[in-house]
Symmetry: C2
Subunit: 272 residues, 2 copies
Amino acid sequence: MSSRDAIGVFDSGLGGLTAVKEFLRVLPNEKIIYFGDTGRVPYGTRSRDTIRKYAFQDAQFLLSHNVKMVVAACGTVSSVAGDLLREKLAVPYTGVVNPTAYTAVRVTKNRRVGIIGTAATVNSHSYKLRLQKLNPEIKVFEQACPLFVPLVENGIIDPRDVITQSVVARYLDPLRDQGIDTLILGCTHFPILREAISDFMGEKVRLIDSGLETAVYAAKVLREQDLLSDNPNEQTPEFFVSDTPDGFKNVAGLFLGRDMEHTVTQIDIEQY
Amino acid sequence: MSSRDAIGVFDSGLGGLTAVKEFLRVLPNEKIIYFGDTGRVPYGTRSRDTIRKYAFQDAQFLLSHNVKMVVAACGTVSSVAGDLLREKLAVPYTGVVNPTAYTAVRVTKNRRVGIIGTAATVNSHSYKLRLQKLNPEIKVFEQACPLFVPLVENGIIDPRDVITQSVVARYLDPLRDQGIDTLILGCTHFPILREAISDFMGEKVRLIDSGLETAVYAAKVLREQDLLSDNPNEQTPEFFVSDTPDGFKNVAGLFLGRDMEHTVTQIDIEQY
């Protein structure tokens, strides 16, 4: 099989592997080529120009593997560089914002939707603008949660842990007060905190996982363009990173939800 | 005055400004040229090779301003790339490890010393090796505190804040149990958490600020080599960063402990 049959997925780091997990569930016969920019993570605190430059390089790297679609599994990139990638790439592109916003609009009953993400994602208002374009009557409540990524990356994710609980409460208390019935997890790290977030928000608030919604949307695009793989077997994903792959296996296991067969290769992203 | 009279100080980000604060107190007549690698921060989670490459570029940038001394105000760089910089640079160099270890050995009475830093600093055992070289009888207790930097960068530093308290307690409880009387703050961000750390450890534990000790040591080196400035006036520092300087003023104010006159310029560090 040539990699022309592969879907290229990238993120600023390894958080996008939570989206890969959903791609493997929704599209088990598709080959996934993943690039995690671990040498330049995090993007969320960087300037707009820097994020756009990095995102374009990341997409170029995936295209050098002849992928048939590029997916930015990264709230920050989708929010800040989505327009650039959609315009410049010669293959179908999707970020996480549009598929996720579409689902949120569909499922909310009281039209009060919350969105949490990195500072860059929230400051871009990308989700809010998209939600209100889809339905101007929707009230959107935004909250940056800059400590969630470090919590996840340091494994402080147990919903019974006092640190996890107090950080979740600090950020989500204002959203709970607003009576939202739908909350978008607008950063690929956040599904790892799903249980702690759900415990705090209560079971009546529907959590929308941007990785899952994006996988479902990508499947629809590929089907419509007759680009789905006809390979009957499950495919082994290939992973690429821009810093050394030390410790990759453990983090990948956390984000993918299981140990799985894989290859991981370090590349020099500045060349793209 | 030519910048040949300046001291060059760098850090992976803006944390090193806590060291600049001490340099301005200890050496008020010296010109400081500071480079904060905000475009590639953090270093603490990156591989050894990457950290060494970045540190060498950072030093080259400062040397392009003809500084008379290079200071790595960064526990990670000092621990991982100190040997490289000491060997390769044509001007005096110091990191934070040696001056800080020397003071800790001098002040401890029960010879039980704690050291906290990023994962990279602690995993390098640089402080431990140096302390035990200075005095083999010293017992050293190391603890990585990877959430301290995100706490500081998100302003969650109030010693009465439950998040600050619970994160401090999580990391420092094992050190308190060991009965240390001296604790090295082995990361330039950590002095911002000094009050919370001191509240938890108790007033009998002496906190050693690596920035202050490094400033005192740099003064000694310059005096011995007859390189001290003879300029009678206070100097305005010059700041350089590798991402956009948006928001620099607020962060600099936090780390320097005051608003001060300054210039800040963005440069492309990959050129060095």
